[in-house]
Every structure is written in C-alpha cells, then in structure tokens.
C-alpha cells in the first residue's frame, strides 16, 4: 500500500532513479506541499486569465460611450465575477501557491504540519472555483458585485439563482482558506529547523505568518454574513429584511470587517516576495529586518480597525467617520516604512536588473502610487467625492495589480528555477515586464481622472461629452496591451519547463534555506535538517562576507564550522527518501474525496429555492455521507 512518491520534473534536477509516481493519479493523491503549491499555481494562473477575460469584456463595453457590446445584466455579471475571480480565485491562491511551496523550504522543514489537510485545502479551492465560475457559461453568474451588498442580494431584489452560487461558493472557498491557515500557523510555529528563531525567519515566511492570522480572524465574520444571507434566501429569515426592521448596514459592516483585513491578506505575501528578491539582487541584506517584521505585524493588527473607511458615504456620523479616518491614516505609516526600507536595501547595493528584480522595483513604485490615492481616500470628506467612482478603481488596481500581481510575478520568475530546475526566458520576461508596466499604467492611470470627473463604478454605459471618453479609450487599449503581456508570460511559463536554461540549486546567490537544496527539490526537501545560524544561513556558508554583520553566537559559529567540515549533500546529488531512511507521508485520495463530499453537500442547497426539496435533500445527504465517510477514513489512516 505504501508507495514512495518521487515526483518527476520536466527537465533536469532529480537524478534519483527509483520508483516514480507519474501521471494524473500521483497528482490526485499527492500530499507533497511542493506539488500542492504547483497545483495552486497552475489553477490560479488559469483563473487569473478567466478574470482577465472578464476585464477585457468590461473594458470593451466601456471603450466608447453608450456601447451595446454587452447588456446591463451581463455587465453586472462581468464586474462581479471579475472581482470575485481575481480576489478569491487568482490572487489569494497565487499567494497560497507560494505559501505551500516555500514555507517548509524556508524554515528547513520536510513538509507542512498537516499534509493531508493541505491537499484538502487545494481540492476545496479547485471545486469551489469551478462551482462559482460555471454559472457564467449559462449566464446566471453572480451579479451583485464582488462584495454582494444586502439587501440588494436578498430574494426580494435578486430573485434568480445567481447570488445562490455566490453565497455558497464563497462559503466553500472560505473552508479552503481557513484549513490552510490552521496548517501554516502550526507549521511556522512548530516545524522550524534548529536555530531558526522567529526573528530569523525569512521575510516571506514572516509576512505569510501574519497573513495566516488575518485569515483565521477575518473569515469568520464573512462566514457569518454569508450564513445570514444564505438563511434569508433559503430559509426565510429576516437578517437583511428591511420590512422586518433589519439594518441595511449589517451586511456592510460584517463584510468589511472581513474585507479590510482581506486586502492585507492580498498584499502582504507580495511584500514578502519583494523582500526576498530585493536583497538577493542588491547583494545586500534587507535593511531594517526588525522594523520590517514589526511593521508587518502592525499592519495586520491595525488592519482590523479600519474597515468602515469603505462606508464613509453611508452616514455613520462624525465620530465614527473621524475614528476610522484616523486609523486609516495611521496604517499608512507601517506601510510607508516598508517602502523606505526597500529603497535603503537597494541603496549602494550591487544591483542586477533581472526580471524578478524589475518586477520587485516596479511594485515599490506602483504600490506607492496606489498608496497615495489610498491616503487620499482616508479623508472622509474627500472620500465622499471619490467613493463609488473610478478614482477608487484606480487606487485598488494600483495596489492589487501594481502591488500584489507584480510582486507575485517577481516571485514566479525568482522561484521558477527552484521549482522546475530551469530559468524562465529572460528576453521574454523583459518583454512581459515592459508590456505589463506600460499596459498597467495605461489602463489604470486615466481612471484617476475619469473618477474625479465623476464617472461612477459598475454602470455599463456612459454618455459622451462628460470628459471621460478619452480616458476610457486609453484604459481599454491598456487592457489589450495587458492581454498581450500576459500571453507572453504564459508562453514563457509553459515553454521554459522544457526549453529553459538549466538552473542549479542556488542560481541567484541567495541567502535562505530553500536555495541550499537541489532544483527542483527532492521530495523530502532536506537530506539533513539544517542548523540555522543567522537570517541568511546560506550566505553564512557560501558568502560569509555578505552576512558579516550578522550576530553569530558561539553556537552559530560552531555550527557554521561544522557545516564546512562535514558538508551537506552536494546540490547536484539527490537520493530517494527510502535510501536516506526518511519516512514520507502516504499519497491518498481521501482529502479529494472528502472535498468532493463537502462541495456536493453545499450544492444541494441550490435546489431548495426552486421547491425541489427531495432533490435537494438527496444531494445534501449524499454529500454529507461522503464528507463524513471521507473524514473517518482519512482520520483513521496513518499519515506515514
């Protein structure tokens, strides 16, 4: 029954000749964090393209005044799904791809704390993503905005099944994120290699650690808000029913209590990736590591106290407005601190303008622009003009596209050699970068102007002559440029797996543990669990002049000596887990089975509102049986 899974990788890397698990079944039953990270990456890139397509359709409709390219209802579905897809199915899972792939490698662990739960998280994401995306093919996609304000999304105003897909889909996706968060918190706390204190964690892992806590605390409020909406729609409760005395702001508050920490969930991993890339290509340690850690924690903590800045126009009163405005301005401080620390990292460094470096630097610039408009929103009176206009759209696309996405691209180019053993093509990468940068700015910069001139969000047509025409045209052309850029990227991403230049274990001369093992890593990651001697453990061994400033205790120095005299396995040597006597977790399809059961169970609800009670019950109970059966089998089966 036990099979040792040794993944094959396109191209070179693993020279271990042993029982190989290839093919679909090995991917379906994988519990290896690296494979799961790869699954997340491919799936998320797919959904990124889906969300991009939705954006292209939106921008085509808005290219000129009063176009009839799509109907108003279709337009509503497009902007709803664009937002929902990008937030929940693209950016968050792209971050998850890196959490999965990198965190165990960076902390010197062999896998996450709960490998099967990890697989479960992915499958739930995949199935949830399909669940919430499929309706668009039948033109019944969610159409209430990505933030689904009730009472608009109650039965009274949204009678069709569209919102049902949204409510149920988000609940499913929430389970995925929460399960993963429990996993990574435990992993980062408990599976760090000896010598890796919290203040020696690589920045990506630190930022990810903060993000996991944000997930764990922010998802429950939206779960509750969605439960209320679900109950209202399916069981006739009164949570959002104005006639019964409900408060129209309940949804908004509960949603944004989640929604604001959510945006920090979206950006902090990208910040972490930038903090890995910049020092490597500046040949300098990160400037102000301690401050970077504390500012990340502050952002996470303060992020729970600013949510109502999304609601300045609803009439909360001067006291509430002022408090939230102040808190919002406050949170700009730890964020701004990071920008300066990154610049200081590069200052007087030996800069190599590789593609990942370009993306990292671009993030600093683009996020700063987005941050400036963000601070402008934080003033409640000013926001009264800006809210619900394209000025806001400009802001969040600068921070999400110019921030999160660019950071993620930096991470992909940077870590692609580690994951596949090959470099992505630098020439194509440069083309991608410049088209992306120009396209992004061409698309979103004009929106500052059309927004301030009053162009509202989420309206499918606009009249000519209001001063918006040229800006919309520019935005649409910018979008088409982004399509080309993305196509170049995807081509490069797919092709380099087989044709890219071969990469060693440490192709960039980086500082952290993930670069101390072969590219791609063997299934067990580390042949010998390393002893960590500073924040830059690899520099300690290979480029001691780089970490000369590090505080090495006597124990650290002894460990470095020992590592020199009895070297770890050479990067190019790989052995199988069996040869090394490392027990590996058994591959299993039980997490997938359980995930399917859960999604089927939720799907049963869809039939309730159509009066198909028997059908609904059958499906729900079947799903529940699968869920419970799968869980039982999973929990009683040994891990390894």
């Amino acid at each position: 029954m036990a099979t040792i899974a040794t993944p094959t990788h396109a191209g070179s890397g693993s020279t271990a000749a042993s029982a190989e698990n290839t093919g679909i079944w090995s991917w379906i039953t994988t519990v290896d964090h690296k494979r799961i990270g790869t699954l997340y990456l491919w799936t998320a890139l797919f959904f990124f393209m889906v969300g991009g397509l939705e954006a292209v359709l939106i921008r085509t409709q808005l290219m000129r005044p009063n176009m009839g390219f799509v109907s108003a209802e279709t337009y509503n579905q497009l902007f709803t799904m664009h937002g929902t897809t990008m937030v929940f199915l693209a950016v968050m899972p792209l971050s998850a791809a890196f959490f999965n792939y990198l965190i165990p490698l960076q902390i010197g662990a062999r896998d996450v704390a709960f490998p099967r739960l990890n697989a479960f998280s992915y499958w739930v994401y995949l199935l949830g993503g399909i669940f919430i995306t499929l309706p668009i093919l039948f033109q019944i996609a969610p159409d209430g905005g990505w933030f689904g304000y009730a009472p608009l999304t109650t039965n009274q105003f949204s009678a069709g099944p569209n919102i049902d897909f949204w409510v149920i889909g988000l609940q499913i996706l929430g389970v995925s994120s929460l399960a993963a968060a429990f996993n990574f918190i435990t992993t980062i706390i408990n599976l760090r290699a000896p010598g890796m204190s919290l203040m020696r964690l690589p920045m990506f892992t630190w930022m990810s650690f903060v993000v996991q806590f944000l997930l764990v605390l922010a998802f429950p409020p939206i779960t509750v808000a969605l439960v209320f909406l679900l109950f209202d729609r399916f069981f006739g409760t009164t949570f959002y029913s104005i006639a019964a005395g409900a408060d129209p702001l309940l949804w908004q508050h509960l949603f944004w209590v989640f929604g604001h920490p959510e945006v920090y969930i979206l950006i902090l991993p990208a910040f972490g990736l930038v903090s890995e890339v910049l020092p490597t290509f500046s040949k300098k340690p990160l400037f102000g590591y301690n401050v970077m850690v504390y500012s990340g924690i502050m952002i996470g903590f303060l992020g729970f106290g600013v949510w109502a800045h999304h609601m300045f126009a609803v009439g909360m009163g001067a006291v509430a407005d002022s408090i939230f405005a102040t808190m919002t301005m406050l949170i700009a401080i730890p964020t701004g601190v990071k920008i300066f620390n990154w610049i200081a990292t590069m200052w007087a460094g030996e800069i190599r303008f590789t593609v990942p470096m370009k993306f990292a630097i671009a993030l600093i610039a683009m996020f700063t622009i987005g941050g400036i408009s963000g601070v402008m929103h934080s003033s409640a009176p000013a926001d009264l003009q800006q809210t619900d206009t394209y000025f806001i759209v400009a802001h969040f696309h600068y921070v999400l596209f110019g921030g999160s996405i660019m950071g993620i691209f930096a991470g992909i180019y940077h870590y692609y050699p580690k994951m596949t053993g090959r470099f992505m093509n630098e020439g194509l990468g440069n083309v991608h970068f410049w088209l992306n940068l120009i396209g992004m700015n061409l698309t979103f910069f004009p929106m500052h102007f059309s927004g301030l001139l009053g162009m509202p969000r989420r309206v499918y047509q606009y009249d000519a002559g209001q001063g918006w025409d040229l800006f919309n045209l520019m935005s649409t052309y910018g979008t088409y440029l982004l399509v080309v850029a993305t196509a170049v990227f995807i081509w490069n991403f797919v092709r380099s797996r087989t044709t890219g230049a071969v990469a060693s274990g440490d192709p960039w001369g980086a500082a952290t543990l993930e670069w101390s093992i072969p590219s791609p890593p063997p299934e067990y990651n580390f042949a010998k669990i390393p002893t960590v001697t500073s924040r830059s453990p690899l520099w300690d061994l290979k480029h001691p002049e780089m970490s000369a400033g590090a505080d090495h205790s006597a124990a650290d120095s002894a460990a470095i000596e020992a590592a020199h005299s009895t070297p770890m396995h050479e990067e190019t040597e790989t052995y199988t887990a069996k040869e090394l006597g490392i027990p590996m977790p058994f591959p299993t399809a039980k997490p997938l089975f359980t995930a399917v059961g859960m999604v089927v169970m939720f799907s049963g609800l869809l039939f309730l509102r159509n009066g198909m009670f028997a059908v609904s019950m059958t499906i729900t109970l079947t799903g529940a049986a699968m869920l419970i059966g799968g869980l039982y089998a999973w929990l009683t089966a040994p891990l390894e």
């Binding site: 918190i185 890796m196 409900a246």
Partner: protein
C-alpha cells in the same frame, strides 16, 4: 454545520494510529508541543470571531423586532393574541448548569487518561477509584452534553409552539441562528466524545498520544461551554 467543524476534525481530531506509543515515531518540533494542540487553539481563536459576530448581530438587533414574541417582554399582536416573554430562565439555568458540569466531567476524563498506569494509593476510596475511569467520565460528559441538547430541543420546539420561529422576526432569526450554531457545535462535540468512548472501550485510551486526543476534544468542549456562558448572560439574563 459550521464551515469550521470540517476543518477542526480534519486537523487531527483522532490522529493517526501509526503514532501509538509502542511505535514511537516522534517528529522533531520547534516548541516541543504537539502540532494538533497548536492547531486546535488556533481554531478556537477563529471560533472566538465566529461567535463574536453572531452575538454582535443578536445584540444589534435586540429591541429592533417589529413584531413579537420578544425575549423579556410580553407582547400583544394586532389580532389580539397575547405572547408572554418567551425566554424561560429556570429551564435554561438548568441546562446551563448541566453544560457547566459537563466541563467538570471532561476535565476528569482527561485526568483519568493521564492517570492510567499509575498505581492507586492504598486505602483509596470510591472517589479516588472513580477518577481512574476514563470511560465513566467520557460517558458522563457525553451524556450531559446530550442532556443540554435535549433541553435545547425542548426550548426550540416550545418556542415554535408559542409562535416564535426563525422567520418570525429579527429576534427569532438571530436567536435561533446563534443558539443553533452553538447547538451544532455541542452536537459535534458529543459525537466526538462518543467516538473517543468507543475507542476507549475497544482498544483503551492510554499513553501520551491518547492523552493528546482527549486533550484536544476537551479544549473544544470547554470552549463550547465558555461560549454558552457568554450567550446565557448576554441573551438570557441581560435585558
């Protein structure tokens, strides 16, 4: 079922049998703590936010229902039907007491597993002896939990009988959702306890790994009790 419970179970409610003490394959940990214990506390932290959101909604909507019945006041409908204050404090006090005592039983169940293998002092009385029976205390906890659920079922049905359903008004919606979620958590806990009891009856619970399994269940159970302490005060006693 709360979207949390699947994750809670998946995070290792029962653990892998391959980790029995006789087969000690011990993994390195940074803190010396078990992964599953860290995970359950994180889960509990998350649940704090879940119940805080549900309780907040109840409190926000308190006094805002357009029609009755109401929790603490009588109300006459337009048709002349009279509704007395619907909350039954004596009954709920009893169920609260039962749940509170179930936490006591749970603590003793964990202790019993921890004491396995330790010799009983000479001249030990019935109290010392009964503390050694994990099966007794697991069963007692489960039974008290089930009793609490019985009280809840009685309460829900009598409310419906008296004219308060989940659809009736803001009070009904928020009350039944909040206490329903809590009751669902208790139900999961009772099933968990019964599973542990069954394991105890078949292969017996003893040793560090089994202590951890019971410990995780206990933490979950106590948390569910603690949430009820908050609910009892905020919903039933405060007017």
């Amino acid at each position: 079922m709360s979207s949390h419970t699947a994750a809670a179970h998946a995070s290792g409610a029962h653990g892998a049998h391959g980790h029995d003490d006789g087969h000690a394959h011990v993994h390195y940990t940074t803190t010396g703590l078990d992964n599953r214990k860290i995970a359950i506390w994180t889960f509990i932290g998350s649940e704090c936010m879940l119940f805080a959101s549900l309780i907040s909604t109840y409190l926000i909507y308190k006094g805002k229902s357009v029609v009755g019945p109401f929790p603490h006041e009588a109300w006459t409908s337009e048709t002349g039907q009279v509704f007395k204050p619907i909350l039954d404090i004596p009954v709920t006090s009893a169920s609260t007491f039962v749940l509170l005592m179930s936490s006591f039983a749970m603590v003793l169940a964990l202790q019993a597993v921890q004491l396995k293998g330790k010799p009983l002092a000479a001249g030990a009385g019935w109290w010392e002896r009964i503390q050694r029976s994990s099966q007794f205390w697991l069963a007692a906890t489960a039974l008290m939990g089930a009793t609490f659920l019985g009280f809840q079922a009685y309460e829900f049905t009598s409310f419906v009988h008296e004219g308060l359903t989940i659809k009736t008004n803001l009070f009904g919606s928020s009350f039944f959702t909040l206490t329903g979620f809590h009751g669902a958590h208790v139900t999961v806990g009772v099933l968990w306890l019964m599973t542990l009891l069954w394991i105890d009856r078949t292969r017996g619970l003893a040793g560090k790994n089994d202590e951890l399994l019971v410990d995780i269940c206990a933490l979950y159970w106590h948390f569910v009790d603690v949430v009820w302490i908050a609910i009892f005060t905020l919903i039933y006693l405060i007017q």
